[in-house]
């Protein structure tokens, strides 16, 4: 029976039913509603025995989770944006120690300029920290993914990040099913740690490893993530059998079996994209979408198979690598390397599949149906550049670039642009 819930409330209620033993939290927008909800439940005694620790920073939050997990407790925290970066060192450490911590990342931009709204700059910046990274397309999936995340983390002894778009998902109310406690209990066995701090059987955790073994240890981290490529779909299938709905997995295609143009994306933009694709399909256009649910590990072979029939691929990204271009695109490129363009389409040749990177939705800018539609139209018409910034105000950018090149002290970009846009009372520079 679905109930009308905020995404954050649904995640909090789901995490609560996963029987966490230690929850640590530091406030940062837009993840605060999740830990506020959990804090109330712990205070009310609904989660006993569970400890809620209000820490002094995200670095401490992850550190407390490390200590708790190494002592055999199921540990959970949530963060976003600057907070994720502030815990960066501890993230690598938790992964290196193989501690199955589960964390929600309510995706948010990184400053400067400071910006509280959604994009994927935060989790993308930490893509190589050794955590599994799952991206939810909607709030039902976000809730469901947490149940799967605990199972996956503890099965592989690896930490898992569940990424959900800040505000777009965390603050959106919609009808949702919070996974039932009895079913979770059947799906998620109690945490049996691989190693644990116990005076009855003392172990040394976190010792120093030199050049003689470091490569092997790092390789094993990679091998574990490769195992996750099998575990993630297996757990998603089992989840579907137990809960009666499909969530998670490695990839999820939308009408892309015979699609000539496929848009690859992460997160909540998939909903808008599906609407656009439905409309274009009605017009007879062969377009589809491919959602990447697991970004780490990255399903290279599965992605290659899913895109084998595509003529062109548009990678739609809510973050980018300054000075290069797409982040997700680089991995998609790797997956498609050497893949010839599919035969039987309009452009029947042997060229490599055509690829575009589109950067969109930075710092909370809405990704509209109209913009998505024109992106696909441009691609099909051969007008979409290899790297494109969706809805970029070129006039403003060119004016600011000219100012910068003019020498002198033109002042801060962000303020100049706001003035040019008429958003500052003092008017244009």
């Amino acid at each position: 029976m679905p109930s009308q819930l905020e995404g954050s409330q649904a995640v909090a209620a789901t995490v609560a039913r996963c029987r966490p033993e230690v929850i640590c939290a530091y406030p940062i927008t837009p993840q605060t509603h999740i830990v506020e909800g959990l804090s109330r439940m712990v205070a009310a005694g609904e989660l006993a025995p569970c400890e809620f620790v209000n820490v002094e920073s995200e670095f401490a939050a992850m550190s407390v989770a490390i200590g708790a997990s190494a002592t055999g407790a199921r540990a959970y925290t949530a963060t976003a944006s600057q907070g994720l970066l502030y815990m960066a060192e501890a993230l690598f450490n938790a992964a290196g120690l193989g501690l199955p911590i589960v964390m929600t990342v309510a995706n948010r931009a990184i400053g400067a300029p400071i910006n509280i709204w959604n994009d994927h700059s935060d989790s993308m910046a930490l893509r190589d920290c050794g955590w599994i990274q799952l991206y939810a397309a909607d709030n039902q999936e976000a809730a469901d993914m947490h149940v799967q995340a605990f199972r996956l983390a503890e099965q592989l002894s690896l930490p898992v990040m569940v990424c959900m778009d800040g505000f777009v998902l965390t603050h959106a109310f919609e009808p949702l099913e919070v996974p039932e406690r009895e079913r979770i209990d059947a799906f998620l066995p109690p945490f049996a740690p691989r190693q644990v701090l116990d005076p009855a059987d003392p172990v040394t955790i976190g010792a120093m490893v030199g050049p003689e073994a470091f490569t092997e240890v790092r390789y094993l981290a990679h091998a574990k993530q490769m195992d996750a490529l099998d575990a993630i779909p297996a757990i998603a299938e089992e989840f579907e059998r137990a809960f009666g709905r499909s969530s998670g997995g490695l990839l999820s295609g939308y009408r892309c079996e015979d699609a000539e143009t496929v848009v690859v994306a992460l997160g909540s933009v998939l909903g808008t994209l599906e609407e656009v694709i439905d409309r274009m399909r009605d017009e007879g256009r062969r377009v589809g979408a491919l959602a990447v649910k697991s970004f780490r590990p990255f399903p290279l072979a599965e992605l290659r198979a899913a895109l084998a029939r595509a003529q062109r691929v548009i990678v739609l990204e809510r973050a980018f690598a300054v000075g290069v271009g797409g982040i997700l695109s680089a991995d998609v490129h790797a997956a498609l390397a050497g893949l010839p363009r599919a035969r039987g389409g309009d452009r029947d040749d042997e060229d490599a599949v055509e690829m575009h990177t589109v950067i969109a939705g930075l710092g909370g800018r809405a990704i509209t149906r109209r913009s998505l539609r024109s992106m696909i139209d441009d691609a099909d018409a051969g007008l979409l550049p290899t790297l494109h910034f969706m809805d970029l105000n070129s006039e403003v950018v060119q004016r600011e670039l000219a100012r910068s090149r003019g020498g002198g002290r033109p002042g801060p970009h962000a303020e100049n642009i706001l003035r040019d846009l008429g958003l500052v009372a003092a008017g244009p520079v």
């Binding site: 401490a60 550190s63 120093m208």
Partner: protein
């Protein structure tokens, strides 16, 4: 028939089998835990290895072997765990440089959630990991009231990385980043961070300082700390022959002189108030402490830097006044040194040589 006299009785000597068992040191017990056991790679004369061994064995005894340690990055971590070797015979975790107090909090939270509150937690690190990079986590651990004993082994600089200044480096000390060139005094005479006082400002149940010169006192303070629940802080002065430029055989002597000159006050505080001090038995001028260490060699080279020595003496005098370290000046607290030990200290203090 004359009375047999056992001169060893009542000394601090380890393995003193003539003492009553109740008075014997933890280290005198053949069944001691050896929490950090042989084979580690500490330098000769390492004060930290000595302090950690005494502190942790005392913690193991006080808890009946139910203790978990969380260690900051630093010398203690590096010399004790070159994998696959480990000197630790208790459950031990190292995570990062600046998070040992928070990791310890996590361990304590997990133990509470699992109902294992009989198992106690010790966090530990050097001065860099404690007063600099770990201070935020430590302060958080204090203010939340987490049930952790945190021990700082203070050798007054970043020794593991090659003797760079920390906020615990004393004024005028030479480090690799405070070279006494030209008129520069070595480390500056700014405030620095006095972490025992910062800990006391949190009004936590127990704060104490100790040195490796008085190891029975250190053991007793660990045992006392374990009688409390909540955050406790122990700050142990551990001379570093490498970083201080002192003889490896001089570690204990130098630690004693630090206390006897007044530069390192040894005291106990409960809930933010000093409740006991270890008085200076025989006061020595700071020169006697400084001149045995090459990090202060610039104070004695050429015409010497009497001005800087005077400022250090003033700092020592301020400590003496503040904590009531001279028994004759009216002690603020009770003298916690055992009587026979005092006599030994008097003998040792009398034998100290002054600057050459």
């Amino acid at each position: 028939m004359s009375e047999t006299r056992f001169y060893q009785t009542g000394t601090f000597a380890v393995g003193n089998r003539l003492l009553d068992e109740a008075e014997a040191s933890v280290q005198a017990d053949p069944e001691r835990a050896n929490a950090i056991t042989k084979g580690h790679r500490a330098c000769q004369g390492c004060g930290e290895a000595l302090g950690a061994r005494y502190a942790l064995d005392a913690a193991v005894r006080a808890t009946g072997g139910r203790v978990i340690a969380a260690n900051a990055t630093g010398c203690l971590e590096v010399f004790s765990t070159p994998f696959p070797e480990s000197s630790w015979r208790l459950p031990w975790i190292h995570s990062l440089f600046g998070n040992a107090p928070a990791v310890a909090t996590g361990v304590a939270a997990a133990l509470r959630a699992k109902g294992h509150t009989d198992i106690r937690v010790v966090g530990q690190g050097g001065d860099g990991g404690t007063v600099d990079i770990g201070l935020a986590c430590l302060s958080g651990m204090f203010e939340r009231g987490d049930d952790v004993l945190y021990i700082c082994y203070d050798n007054e600089a970043y020794m593991n990385t090659g003797v760079q200044r920390s906020a615990a480096t004393p004024p005028a000390a030479r480090t690799a980043t405070t070279e006494p060139l030209g008129e520069h005094p070595g480390n500056s005479f700014e405030q620095g961070k006095n972490l025992p006082l910062i800990a006391m400002a949190h009004e936590i149940p127990y704060v104490a300082t100790a040195t490796v010169a008085e190891l029975r006192d250190l053991e007793r303070k660990v045992a006392r700390a374990m009688e409390f629940r909540g955050p406790r802080y122990l700050h142990v002065l551990v001379p570093c022959p490498l970083g201080w430029g002192s003889a490896t055989s001089d570690t204990i002597n130098i630690a004693r002189l630090a206390k006897e000159c007044g530069l390192f006050p040894v005291f106990e505080a409960e809930h933010g108030r000093v409740v006991a001090v270890s008085p200076i038995r025989r006061q020595v001028p700071v020169e006697q402490y400084l001149c045995r260490q090459k990090r202060y060699a610039h104070l004695f080279a050429g015409e010497g830097r009497a001005d800087l020595i005077a400022r250090l003496q003033a700092a020592a005098d301020r400590n003496i006044e503040r904590f009531g370290l001279l028994a004759s000046a009216g002690s603020r607290g009770e003298d916690t040194t055992e009587r026979p030990a005092r006599e030994l200290l008097d003998v040792l203090a009398a034998s100290e040589r002054g600057p050459q």
